[in-house]
């Protein structure tokens, strides 16, 4: 597969984790990421225009979601480039979630150059209320 040529664990090594709730660490700074949550669901948006869907790879490991993609430069016949500020090639963003997500229920969509991933909390990760019984 496209993005799995590198060894998984290498990617996680340079990671730092904030102690507050804004736990996002960037590998590449070009693609802004917004994160929003409600109690049992997180929405991650990556602003990365001009991708084709088959070059987007979303994967989950533990509490980390990895959004990897490759952007190719448009090929123009008989054109000369006068200015080239945009970034192309492989990139990724990693986002640490506040809970464990249910991989089977993750939904990813790409629209208007924004990759949006909805990650519901896994049932097994939800806190369970324990009934307290009065001792006799």
């Amino acid at each position: 597969m496209l993005f799995h040529s590198r060894f998984w664990d290498d990617i996680f090594e340079p990671w730092k984790t904030d102690t507050n709730d804004r736990r996002c660490e960037t590998a590449v700074a070009h693609w802004p990421v917004n994160v929003a949550r409600k109690e049992d669901e997180v929405v991650v948006s990556v602003f990365a225009p001009g991708l084709s869907v088959d070059k987007i790879d979303v994967s989950l490991k533990g509490r980390t979601v990895r959004l990897a993609f490759e952007r190719s430069k448009p090929e123009l016949a008989e054109a000369s480039w006068q200015r080239a500020e945009r970034v192309f090639g492989e990139s990724q963003r990693l986002v640490e979630l506040p809970f464990e997500a249910d991989a089977a229920r993750v939904e990813a969509t790409y629209r208007d150059g924004v990759l949006t991933v909805r990650l519901p909390r896994a049932e097994s990760d939800k806190p369970r209320r324990i009934a307290v019984q009065a001792a006799e």
């Binding site: 709730d21 804004r22 736990r23 996002c24 802004p32 990421v33 917004n34 994160v35 929003a36 949550r37 409600k38 669901e41 929405v43 948006s45 602003f47 990365a48 225009p49 001009g50 991708l51 448009p74 123009l76 008989e78 054109a79 000369s80 480039w81 006068q82 200015r83 080239a84 500020e85 945009r86 970034v87 986002v95 506040p98 790409y110 208007d112 150059g113 924004v114 909805r118």
Partner: protein, 121 residues
């Protein structure tokens, strides 16, 4: 009595998006990264010799969600201006937006287009 009015976004944050420019035989093509921008939310204007595009990305959240990390502010406005010379045929400028990329096609005015002159024998 005090009346409360709806709060407006206080400040807009202007961001200059990255742009590529290519020249072909007949036109100048400009590509701008405008993630979150659909085709109905871009304004392209030409005033004298200044071409400006402006767009607001869609950053709204699904209902019930609160932002916990924002790298692209909801107040962002993508805006950039370029000066264009007489060489551009203003009447035929075209703009398209797809997958968050604005493509502007600035056709060269006829007289500046390269012309092939046939040599007769």
């Amino acid at each position: 009595m005090l009346t409360m009015t709806q709060a407006k976004p206080v400040t807009e944050k202007v961001v200059q998006p990255p742009v590529d420019v290519a020249e072909t035989k007949d036109a100048i093509l400009l590509f701008a990264d405008l993630p979150g921008v659909g085709k109905d939310s871009v304004d392209v204007t030409v005033e004298r010799n200044v071409l400006t595009f402006e767009a607001r990305p869609r950053t709204n959240l699904p209902e019930g969600f609160k932002a916990t990390h924002l790298e692209l502010s909801p107040n962002v406005v993508f805006r950039r201006s370029f000066s264009i010379g007489e060489a551009v045929d203003r009447a035929r400028i075209e703009a398209t937006v797809k997958d968050g990329i604005l493509v502007l096609s600035l056709p060269k005015a006829d007289r500046t287009r390269e012309r092939k002159i046939e040599i007769r024998t």
